[in-house]
Symmetry: C2
Subunit: 345 residues, 2 copies
């Protein structure tokens, strides 16, 4: 899934170049490239699919040159993750009804790729032989209010995979007090938006719980892989309800499973989460850029990958971010206002 | 005079592009262009001379296309203002022994060009008929410790120009207490480094007070305006003592005059002086850039002419400056450390 516009990460992320296409970590690979790399050994190049909006198709081609062109699906508009997943699932099923699928956002970060590999392989083994809907649940490390939570029933592991448990309930983003309670408990996990299932499972679930969406893609079946596909998708996709897969399926279906895991995941939803997640200097500064010098500066995020030289003196708790001739200096505590800052004119 | 390297104004000013060549004020003209413009009606285009270092010759040609190429004099190295003024004065005198000269830095700012015009015209009238060395003395508006001062004898104006007075003494940059005393008195003026004299006066003064420098350019006389000039200048100019015109002449000669004036002058020697000098918003922010938005921000200088969009939140008393892929964020009170910041590696 690579359709996000990443407005909270301005100016690094812009509608022209959202964060999945950016080398956020300063490592030489964009987030979507890192996501692609992460699946080496799990998925053959010919089995990758990217769903994105028309404006990003060229970026995807450029950044993932090994991807087949016809495996880049164009959403004519944004309709949330459920229609996105439905489109690619119906299409895969038309070709390979026994496909086993991992759905992942392309703009998240995973630090421990080895553990990611192990967890995903294990979950796929589980879904290859079952009709389970498996979500990866991240072990919480802080009372995060920006994520949804998965409440698991840890009383009994699945017989065929002792790391996988039944889900009791999906929980929406909590307030801080609630998040703190969740953190105390052992059976609440962050919903990372990474799902594992076989293609029949998800198509059946969508048919049952989102019959309107199911119908739309069912009617597309004769046209997939034909010249008429894009035209018909452009007509029918906008008719889908705008709904996330969490609302559409997870909160409705009964047989949902969670695989609690810990592989240094972050959705990089905010500058603060980047700060939290990355290696910092002794004064808790996260400096990403070719030549950044700091003096009397602490607890800052300085993200200036395009600046040849940056000097920061005397800041505490600030974000300094530069990208494509745009500059933001802002208290990290105020970063939820970034969207407003950029909108006002 | 356009040889300065402007290291205190990093990153706006760099050795490759010092501040005289930059549109510091964001008005569409660089400081040297503004200086050139300021002399329209005072000096014909064919009578402008620029002394600079070899590396800036192309910048001068580009920014002042009406200037004659052979009126750009190349210093092979920096030797202070006295050798610089000596070179151009000897050369002008070789062609026109009756020339009347205004010497001015090219990287200062003048806000009231009308008054500047009046003062310079009046001073030139004075020096056309006398052997006076005239300095323009700026009426102090604050206890500035970054400027030298001129102590005038206000008891008697010159008979031929009632605005011009004898100088009692040149005073070096004072400490703050002394600067405050100077500000109380009516007869202390800032030394702006703008001089008016006829060419014989300055050549004679240099011969008397700086005989070594005088000898060097005297020996150049047969070679000015020939193919050998640059080669010989490259050989002999470095032999000049590194000395400012203030030390070389002003503090030694007896017959020095000051023309007290007030035309919104600043040497723009520091970011703080830019802040002091320019029009600010109601929160005392000086914002120079195409699209700068500030929130909860006061007493700041934001100088980001090359950034398409800038947002600053929650800063008080800071400098935010971006230029040519370099970024500086620093307390204005710490700006004297900018030179150190950029040197360390």
């Amino acid at each position: 899934m690579a359709g996000g516009v990443g407005s909270r990460f301005w100016p690094m992320s812009t509608p022209e170049m959202p964060k999945q296409f950016i080398d956020v970590l300063g490592c030489g690979r964009s987030l979507i490239q890192l996501a692609y790399d992460r699946f080496q050994g799990i998925c053959l190049p010919e089995n990758f699919w990217v769903v994105t909006s028309a404006r990003y198709v060229d970026l995807v081609k450029e950044q993932l040159p090994d991807l087949q062109d016809d495996h880049i699906l164009r959403e004519p508009c944004r309709r949330g993750t459920a229609p996105c997943i439905a489109y690619v699932s119906w299409k895969i099923k038309a070709k390979n009804p026994r496909a086993n699928i991992v759905v992942t956002p392309s703009d998240h970060v995973v630090l421990d790729n080895r553990e990611f590999f192990r967890v995903v392989k294990s979950a796929m083994k589980f879904t290859a032989d079952s009709d389970a809907i498996v979500t990866l649940g991240m072990k919480a490390t802080r009372p995060e209010t920006g994520y949804g939570y998965i409440e698991a029933d840890l009383s009994m592991a699945c017989p065929s995979n002792k790391e996988i448990y039944r889900v009791d309930k999906f929980r929406e983003k909590p307030d801080l007090a609630t998040a703190k309670r969740y953190l105390q408990k052992k059976n609440y996990f962050w919903n990372a938006g990474i799902f594992v299932w076989n293609v029949s499972t998800i198509v059946n679930a969508l048919r049952v719980y989102q019959p309107n969406i199911g119908d739309i893609f069912e009617r597309m079946l004769p046209y997939f892989y034909t010249d008429k596909e894009q035209e018909l998708i452009d007509e029918s996709f906008p008719l889908c309800e705008n709904i996330s897969i969490d609302y559409a399926i997870m909160e409705k279906a009964d047989e949902i499973y969670v695989f609690p895991a810990s592989f240094g995941w972050s959705d990089l939803g905010t500058w603060g989460s980047l700060h939290e997640h990355m290696r910092k200097d002794v004064y808790d500064n996260l400096c990403l850029g070719p030549d950044i010098k700091v003096y009397e500066t602490r607890n800052c995020v300085i993200h200036t990958l395009q600046e040849k030289k940056v000097i920061v003196q005397g800041l505490d708790g600030y974000l300094v971010a530069e990208n494509q001739d745009s500059l933001l200096v802002c208290r990290l505590t105020e970063e939820q206002r970034i969207g407003d800052f950029t909108k006002e004119d």
